[in-house]
Amino acid sequence: MNLTPLTPEELSALEVATNHADFHHDLLAYLDYVSVNSIYRKSRDETFSKMVLKDLFRLFTSPLGSSENKNVNEAWLYFVAFLAEQLKLTDSDADSGDSDLNIFWSMGNSENYVVINRQNYAAFLQKSPEDQEAAIREELIKIDYKNYAELLDTSPLGRLDSFPDWLRVASVLKEADWSGARQKLLASLAQLPSGVWLPVSGLLQAFKQEQPYFFLPKNVHLASKRLKAGRYAGLLENLTQYNERGKEINEADPDAFERVEGRFMERFFEFIPFLLRYVELAYDSKPYHGLYPMRGVLRAFRISDRLIHQLKKTIPPAQMTVQPNFEVVVVAEVYPAKIMRLLESLGNVMHYTTGQSGPSVITVLLKREKVVAAVAADDELDVIAALAGLSNQKLAQNVVAELREWTALSSAFTLYEGFGLLEAPPEMVVDGASKDLRVRISPQMGLYARPERVYSLLKKNGLAPLRITHEGAGLQELPAGVTTVFSTEDRPLRPPVKLPSFTLQREEVIALRVSDSKQAFAALKAALLEAGCPLEIDEASSTLRYPRRYDTLLNAVMAKLADYFQVKVTGLPLAEASTAQASDLPSAAPESTPAAAALPVKPKRGRPKSA
């Protein structure tokens, strides 16, 4: 098959589409997610909740690269989920719901949970990455036309429309050899050169001449009365994109092959080759004016080495390098699932560049806390050996030294749960119990695996073991008189008490309590404030308080008030006016200040005597 490559001028008029997502990676990310979360699908439209979508978007690669498109991302995500179900890696399950409430929301349709099929998933994970990728491809090839068909469904990343859905049962399409056609097309693509833009029309013409019945068989078995249009009976073209009855394609038309098989081929490119990043596509950038479903819009394709390598089974092995700066760089044509499973447990993925014609490059930065956690969770994991075994270069000395230190930290904090802690003098520990001894903490203390059995043994041997169950908010206090390191009633363990400290400032305060006249209280208050005296005011009991050192201000204020009120002083006598007045004290305010406003009008009669 010889196809003439597109010239740069021809290509420049086209719009190139590239898939940046990694189907294989996303499928595994989805399966990992489902294996720990049971996902609920709404019964009305089988969609996931927003929360689940958000989680999965975070885990998935993005088909459009940096330019996000929610619809495309969602379509991609649901297609990944669809394929996981086709591969029987997930099931719909009725009983995995979190609560009865969800059963209620499912309106009686209880099979709305997506759960992992543990057995198949484990078997899938056992496969090599190449075999996993091949399994995905094989599943896509053999998908039944009732579930997905190029001419009847839109590819999650496709731009082309489809024939109306009812043709799935009411046309010759049900007799088409879908799997065979996909197989043949992929096989022929593997024979073409990679890295050059080739015309779709060229491939179509080659098939028309060499394998005209690669898709629809020569003889179809539809009822004769419906075969007026020949092999293409039932396939309709419309002037608009809407689903109305249009004109049937007639086998006798000279371009009938282009109108049916041509449409199929364009959509096939949008399906397996594009989803699996085997090709890049180039579309006509001009607006479409032909009959619908669209045809001739997908003009060219460029095959990647991935396609050739995968179909010819000549995939180069993944290359891994651990750099001295703790970055691990993995270069692989097929998503290196096993390597990544290890690396993701040891560090964070920093970059993931999905390759188009060449391999993908993944950079992972090793993190101390992750390495410590991974070794803590798996005793048998030897991080240095595992990385050295996978790396194609010797590990740098600093990396080895650091990893050794991190590994040692994994047992810095070991927690034993579910054991019985036995405190007893060695002579009282019965022999039979040693079978369950897991750790001897001290001669008097040990951790035992089956506390129930140990307890019975102790009792059987005539001992009176105290059985203490530490439940609730804290450790139990043991009865007085018990020999133990735990807190007892007569010897409570308490943290050393730290007494709270405080500062006490002492000062003498003068209280002025004004009885009988609210007006006098207001005037005294205003005058003292005006004189700069810091007052504590209690309106309810007509009391003013101030530090004793301000007491000298009172004389001047009182002298002024004497013009307006007759004052009787009880309790402490007024302080004598000091000549050596504290320099920091303000002097009494002149009469013209605002404080004067609080004073009543000066009585016209003579000045009343002060007592």
């Binding site: 927690l415 203390m445 450790l475």
Partner: protein, 473 residues
């Protein structure tokens, strides 16, 4: 409401000047009755003069204070005062037609004139909808509770002099006989469906659970209450049911302390306001019928005394009984006749023994596991002490338990941490509570409470380390 806030409100706008002065006078504040309101307020919550003021209260007022402390905050409102200042008899119909203010203005007036002035009650307004009167609330300050005198001044008659006292155990006895005949004494009433049974392990069960302290008394009180059938008033539900009021009044009395129906009468009148019962004498009679009280005739009067177990150190204190008459000791253990056995002892048996029945006899044997659990308090249990002295099986069992008790301890339900990182050890000791969250076991070993688990994991993660879990295979 916080007592200090209540106090501020009380002195800010609930009290008149005359009331403030009366409170200062009745409490005998050293600052004198003419001191400013603010100062009187500051002294209010101290214990100054509380005892004297309480001594001056009437029995009814004291009963009201006791009732007040049993009430929920929302119920300590003006209608509760009707218990202390009841409306004139036969006025129910008239009262029901009155508005809130019309109905309670009278009780408020009485309250302001008497109890409020004693300076023992917090009285303040809350900001709710409704009239000012409906928005008043009371509280009995916590600091005054220890000074609240008992409601009854009993007459002391020692056990020797009260030998002719009569206790009616018949009804409880019928219940106990269910141990040998499950259908025995079952009343036709569906409400008495709780059964006493002997489990195959030798423990007594009360309605499906091991017989607990107070189960029998609760049953007796419930039955007496049902028999009394005191009906509550339809528009008042905050007072106590007569039998429970009786229990409240007498549960601090000792068996040698006796009282008369007349003493109880004014108390029940306040505490059981709204309930229709004949008289205090009738309540006492019913309580006696169900074995809650003991009865004694002296000087032509009928005295009563409580016969329920007083609990100290988790053990019921029972009457000094001639135990040699209760038990028959032989090699297998201690035998007691269910027909004469003091019912209160059953709980003690359940604490440390296992039981078997034979006809109407009950065999009590020591249960080593139970004895281990109560060994530290066994010396407080006079019954067990007596059995230790008289029954060889108990002597042997207690000696056996005593040999290893407190030396062999099996702890479950806690985590054990092995921390080799010095920084984490210090952090644990700084951030967690010794004795409660953790206990050091050995150099780098710690027992840790399960409840501290989340914070512990957080602490480890903060140090960029991980917890290594070890669980039994």
């Amino acid at each position: 409401m916080d007592e200090n806030i209540a106090l501020d409100r009380m002195f800010a706008d609930a009290l008149t000047d005359a009331e403030v002065k009366a409170i200062a006078r009745n409490r005998g504040f050293a600052i004198g009755k003419d001191a400013p309101r603010e100062q009187i307020k500051n002294f209010f919550l101290t214990q100054q003069g509380v005892k004297e003021s309480m001594a001056a209260l009437s029995v009814e007022e004291r009963a009201f204070l006791h009732l007040l402390r049993t009430q929920k905050e929302n119920d300590r409102t003006v209608p509760l005062l009707e218990c202390l200042y009841p409306p004139p008899p036969d006025s129910t119909l008239i009262l029901s037609g009155l508005s809130f203010n019309e109905r309670y203005a009278r009780v408020m007036k009485e309250f302001r004139a008497h109890l409020l002035r004693s300076g023992l009650v917090l009285f303040y307004g809350i900001n709710m909808y409704g009239s000012r009167l409906a928005n008043f609330q009371f509280d009995f300050p916590k600091a005054f509770e220890p000074l609240l005198p008992p409601l009854i001044t009993p007459r002391e008659i020692n056990a020797e002099d009260a030998r002719d006292q009569r206790v009616n155990d018949d009804r409880l006895r019928k219940k106990i006989m269910q141990l040998v005949d499950p259908m025995h004494g079952l009343s036709s009433s569906k409400e008495d469906s709780i059964g006493l049974s002997l489990h195959s392990s030798g423990s007594l069960y009360w309605g499906g659970k091991p017989l607990a302290n107070g189960d029998l008394l609760e049953w007796q009180l419930n039955q007496a209450e049902k028999a009394l059938a005191a009906r509550p008033a339809h528009d008042f539900s905050n007072s106590l049911r007569p039998i429970y009021a009786l229990f409240y009044v007498t549960n601090r009395l000792r068996p040698e302390q006796w009282f008369l129906a007349e003493q109880l009468e004014p108390i029940l009148r306040v505490m059981c306001f709204g309930f229709q019962y004949q008289s205090a004498a009738r309540v006492l009679e019913e309580a006696w019928e169900w074995g809650v009280l003991s009865r004694l005739q002296r000087d032509g009067k009928t005295y009563y005394s409580p016969r329920f177990a007083v609990i100290q150190n988790d053990l019921p204190i029972w009457l000094p009984l001639p135990l040699e008459k209760v038990f028959e000791i032989n090699a297998s253990g201690a035998w007691a006749d269910l027909n004469t056995l003091p019912p209160v002892l059953l709980y003690n048996f359940n604490l440390w023994g296992k039981m078997k029945t034979e006809k109407t006899r009950l065999l009590i044997e020591p249960d080593l596991e139970k004895l281990t659990a109560v060994y530290n308090i066994w010396s407080h249990d006079a019954l067990l002490k007596w059995l230790n002295d008289h029954a060889p099986t108990f002597t042997a069992a207690l000696r056996q338990v005593g040999q290893s008790w407190g030396k062999v301890n099996l702890h479950e339900g806690c985590l054990v941490a092995h921390i080799t990182h010095a920084g984490l050890r210090t952090q644990l000791q700084n951030e967690f509570r010794l004795g409660v969250d953790y206990v050091p076991l050995a150099e780098d070993w710690f027992a840790i409470a399960s409840a501290a688990r989340v914070n512990l994991e957080r602490m480890v993660a903060k140090s960029k380390l991980a917890v290594k879990w070890v669980r039994p295979e």
